[in-house]
Symmetry: C2
């Protein structure tokens, strides 16, 4: 990994702001049941990739990205709000290896803390030039609605027999990719970038966002267990409709189709046996290569947009590219 | 009830906007599971008192209150978002006599529809003069956070042994009253009213809001069943910590204290017998008169603020007063 001069300095400032957050948005107030989960989930860590994209996109055009730390943090707070509520809906016990909010407290507290977190995300956006505030909020609202739509489609998919490749790609675009697009576009808009550049950065973000989710789907099956943070094969064990499973269901014929159906319908099974069996089917059908091809097409489409943008400071351009490349090649 | 010239015309326009809402804020989009609950809950009815207060407060200073229909509706959308999430938390089966969203669909859909509803409330606020947008959003955010705080205190009270009168009054101020204050103040701010008048309208709203909740507490026990929409005594049956119960627990001595404790601890009981027994204790302790006295003190404090405001159009002033009086004397 090459030097990340801007990124590391900006991330330090972002973490500092997260620690100071209670003072900024009054989350130190009573009742503690409402506010403690906010600092808890924000301090579970994470790569802070979304606010980082905002800050670096701003840096392409203006030399003081620390001027938009609050707006960048708004996107991270929004993201963590969606995690808090998604974890209730998915009945997830763990988040980054720690108890989820609805497990550590209870579901009602996770609902209400999430609600107030969304309000606090809006609070963080208000420190914006009044001439830009409406545009920023419109972008934010549009994206926030789309993220909810994506989560609803994802929940709908659980009870659907078949999901098409197209439906899946649209779901992940909404659920995860548009927020990366927003992060980049918001940074550019706040820096006064031109409309075309802001839009190209948005398209870059959405394309790499879809690519990153395909990468997640791949890693869940093919990661090196020694390097991967969680259990390899988790999606297979849970019958999760990932790009890999959707393609396998589409392509499997006769024996492989039967075997896949068998494992999807098993109630009691040995986890390792199931993972190994489904992986064997994936390998026979060339699912890994197919998914990688699709993923790289998204990355290529993203970089095609990215390489067309105008910018003032090349060092931010190079760093944005490097960080994206690092994420493309991550092993966990 | 006297003539409500402005109110009825404005409420017609508000209902029309609610019917057109899908086009305005894209809630006609897919997936339907996400958006149908929004139109469902908004069409369960209600008095629309909050948006009406905004519109009438605006009318005090400007002759075109229909100019802020969207902002007024934002408050109603926000209010219904809180109802949708509160109903999950309270495990309530019915809302205005119809199935609640988490019952008609499921809790996950009620969480996510509520989330997107909050985003749509912000969307409706954006059609605001850029010079006022930040102030309006700050007011809105402050109030939205307080409403969540109030709901959390209310949930906390359920598992607390004793709640003081002061704690209860602060809880209802946050949970229900500040939103009436916001509705009035936002109307005034959007109309360009002076800071002092806007603040007095806020204080008027908060005071009558606390008074209205005390009225609700009273009606639940002492309403005429023939006129009351739901079962009289519901709060007694559920051991709900209302102002009445809190005062009774504070004042009851020896025999009455024992009887009250007996009924609060009964698991199996005849509902009518319990209501009648607790009511008898309330009567012996003069709880009705005590609560009425407290309620009227809040109404008086509210009107004291209201009567000091400056305004341009007296007809709105008189109508705001009349509507408040009607709510004070309502029997359901």
């Amino acid at each position: 990994m090459t030097k990340r001069k801007h990124a590391d300095a900006l991330l330090d400032k972002l973490e500092q702001l997260i620690q100071e957050l209670p003072a900024h948005i009054e989350i130190g107030r009573s009742p503690k049941e409402l506010y403690e989960p906010i600092t808890y989930i924000l301090n579970l860590g994470g790569k802070r990739i979304r606010p980082l994209l905002s800050l670096l996109a701003y840096g392409l055009y203006q030399s003081n990205p620390e001027a938009i730390l609050k707006q960048a943090l708004a996107i991270e707070v929004f993201h963590n709000f969606t995690l808090m509520h998604d974890d209730i809906m998915d009945d997830a016990p763990l988040r980054r290896g720690e108890a989820t909010v609805h497990e550590k407290w209870n579901p009602n507290i996770a609902i209400l803390s999430g609600d107030v977190m969304l309000v606090k995300a809006y609070d963080l956006l208000l420190d914006t030039d009044p001439r830009l505030l409406r545009e920023v909020l419109e972008l934010f609202n549009q994206t926030a609605s789309e993220v909810c739509e994506g989560q609803q489609f994802d929940m709908n998919f659980e009870s659907l027999g078949t999901v098409s490749e197209e439906e899946y790609l649209e779901m992940i675009r909404l659920k995860t990719a548009v927020l990366l697009g927003l992060a980049l576009k918001m940074g550019a808009v706040l820096a006064g970038a031109g409309k075309e550049d802001a839009q190209k950065l948005y398209d870059f973000g959405v394309n790499i966002g879809v690519g990153f989710q395909l990468k997640d789907d791949l890693l869940d099956v093919f990661a090196d267990q020694a390097k991967f943070g969680k259990q390899v094969g988790g999606d297979i064990i849970a019958n999760k409709k990932t790009f890999l499973l959707i393609k396998a269901l589409e392509l499997a014929k006769s024996e492989e189709a039967e075997s896949l159906a068998f494992w999807l319908n098993q109630k009691d099974f040995d986890k390792e046996e199931k993972v190994s069996a489904v992986k064997k089917i994936y390998n026979a059908l060339g699912i890994k290569e197919l998914t990688e091809k699709k993923m790289h097409a998204y990355f290529a489409a993203g970089f095609e947009q990215f390489d067309q943008i105008h910018f003032t400071d090349e060092s931010y351009f190079l760093e944005l590219r490097q960080i994206t490349e690092d994420l493309i090649h991550r092993e966990k």
